[in-house]
């Protein structure tokens, strides 16, 4: 619903939204180093960041999808299918550049299928992507069963390469570059403007000439393409492709996006927030792990974090809007 003065208020709100994860990151640093003396070690934390590169790429795509008022539960399955297909292609003797192109194209195609079902068949995105969540991983499983495909040895270990002369892993640097591009697309391009418009009010933006269906297909395709890139990363990081790669990763990814201040109802959100929240999740997981907190506690914490974040934002928003109404009536 269009509200007067939305833009200026949005601008303010955005800053606040990124503040939440930023403050939490600091808290996580403090709590983490209190929990274990092995935690605060920049080299270790930098190296650990490579474990979250895939989640980061998926989260960037998810940010766009959620800002457009949709959701994509199939990202981790897309990743798995592309990972299996591209490892098979390498195995069949394709060259690396061709495989990279194929992986990105396949990812984009799978995303397009999601997008078309949402945009043209008019089915809610959570339902479409629950279906493709099963379908994409199902195809990967039907192709490979429980077996794994080995990667050529020279392509293994991208996560252990560093930007020359630094201790920054290539994976992390790459993620930051791609995040910057995504941020520019979202904030400086027509597409970004349209994505926000569709997420804020689809009908209004349709009547004001935004190609809403095209925008939806585009965000899903971008999310798929980033999942394709993430698939190549995980193949290289693990040295093998399996159908069960990254199973359940969508929970971490959606948590990161929502925690980063992107509104689950669409329209609002930022790439910076998502990245900060991902950093937070990485810190929590790494911190709990290095303090020997059992994996099942991590499951419980991440799940609760997702729900608590949305509850807290909703509550905060309701309080804020109440304040707004008061101010307006006072005027």
């Amino acid at each position: 619903m269009p509200r007067p003065g939305v833009r200026s208020r949005c601008g303010r709100l955005h800053k606040h939204r990124e503040l939440i994860p930023a403050v939490l990151v600091v808290v996580a640093f403090i709590v983490g180093s209190m929990q274990s003396r092995f935690f605060l070690d920049s080299r270790y934390l930098l190296d650990s960041s490579t474990l979250y590169a895939e989640a980061g790429l998926l989260a960037l795509g998810m940010t766009l999808v959620i800002i457009s008022g949709n959701i994509d539960l199939s990202v981790a399955s897309t990743l798995a299918l592309v990972a299996v297909v591209s490892a098979n292609l390498l195995d069949a003797g394709w060259g690396l550049p061709a495989v990279v192109v194929a992986a990105l194209a396949l990812g984009a195609l799978l995303g397009c299928i999601n997008g078309c079902l949402v945009a043209y068949a008019g089915i809610p995105s959570f339902m479409v992507t629950v279906g493709t969540l099963a379908l994409y991983r199902g195809v990967a499983q039907a192709m490979l069963g429980a077996e794994s495909v080995k990667m050529p040895s020279e392509l293994i270990g991208i996560d252990m390469k560093y930007v020359p002369g630094t201790v920054v892993p290539v994976s992390l640097a790459g993620l930051i570059v791609i995040a910057t591009v995504c941020g520019l697309v979202l904030n400086r391009s027509v597409l970004g403007h349209w994505v926000r418009a569709v997420g804020t009010n689809e009908k209004a933006s349709f009547y004001s000439g935004v190609p809403t269906a095209g925008v939806k297909v585009a965000v899903f395709a971008i999310a798929g393409m980033l999942a394709g890139l993430a698939a190549l990363h995980i193949d290289s990081r693990l040295g093998v492709a399996r159908f069960d790669h990254a199973r359940g990763l969508e929970v971490d990814v959606i948590t990161a996006v929502v925690l980063g201040g992107t509104s689950i109802f669409g329209g609002k959100g930022s790439v910076l927030g998502t990245m900060l929240a991902l950093l937070l999740i990485a810190l929590i997981r790494t911190g709990m792990g290095v303090a020997n907190v059992k994996a099942e506690y991590q499951l419980a914490v991440i799940g609760s974090l997702l729900v608590i974040t949305v509850v807290a934002t909703n509550l905060g928003e309701r309080l804020a809007s109440r304040g707004r109404v008061k101010m307006r009536t006072q005027k």
Binding site: G122, P124, F126, G138, A300, L306, N314
Partner: protein
Amino acid sequence: MKITALREFGVLLLLVLVCTVAAIREPRFLEPSSINSILLWAPLLIVVGIGQMMVIVTRGIDVSVGSMLGLSGMLVGILFRSQPGLNVGLGVLAGVGVGFLLGSLNGALITWAKVPPIIATLGTLSAFRGLIFIVSGGEQIDGNDLPVALNQWTLGGPLSVGGVTISWLLAMALALAGAAAWFLAKTRAGRDIYALGSNPEAARLRGVPVNRAQFLVYAITGALAGLAGVMYASRFGFVNPATAGQGYELTVIAAVAIGGTKITGGSGSILGVVLGCFLLGAINVALAVLGIEASWQLLVYGVVILLALLIDAATRRTLEVRQVA
């Protein structure tokens, strides 16, 4: 109404088709042994499916059902282990109670804290699974921790004809399905659920207690998943923290989708869900009997869900066209 009937008939037709093809390739598929297999495959799914269908009718989704099933089953198992000789009925009550509480949490988050259903239940899917490990300390419940009477649910049944047994599990599931069909069609609260699903705004304006209806469907789903947890213990004879109910949400959603429940809300029938569950059961048993490597399972669920979605979209479009004309 006509469309629902058509969909039910379609599922029935598909069921017959699957059975015929399987029987042609392996005549033993029609023997009591294999029919019993299908009849035991379906009950848990029917019980959870009833709840999931109501949720989907209200335009929601509950992906935490597998974790709720596991958590309730685990807690009941722990109860039985610590209180040997405990009445099975009390155990069931505990399972349903735990499930109801978990479902109520989902319901409260969605109804009053306004968390979108997919987000709320995705969060609790993780959180409840973590809790299963925490309450159990990672230990599984073994067969000799469970009362013998519980085993009887699967072993025995009220009716047995020519080697085909209607087990207590199935009888319970069908009785619940009957009760749910009655509840949805004949009670005020049941009809409110459809009203909420077909048009939330109109329902609100008409004075339908939409919040109550929305909360109710998630609480009911939780309670049913809780019961399914106890049934799981009976069927499989053990409850493992990692595998109990893991990934069950996709199977359930597939069964509901194929059963003709409109994914965009507003319509759906219990009979369709029951038929959908039997269809998935028949497919799974057929794959095993025909010796087809069942790494196709997940793929089948995905295709089924998407097919149902497409049929939905297509019928909707035809209706719209007709209305315009």
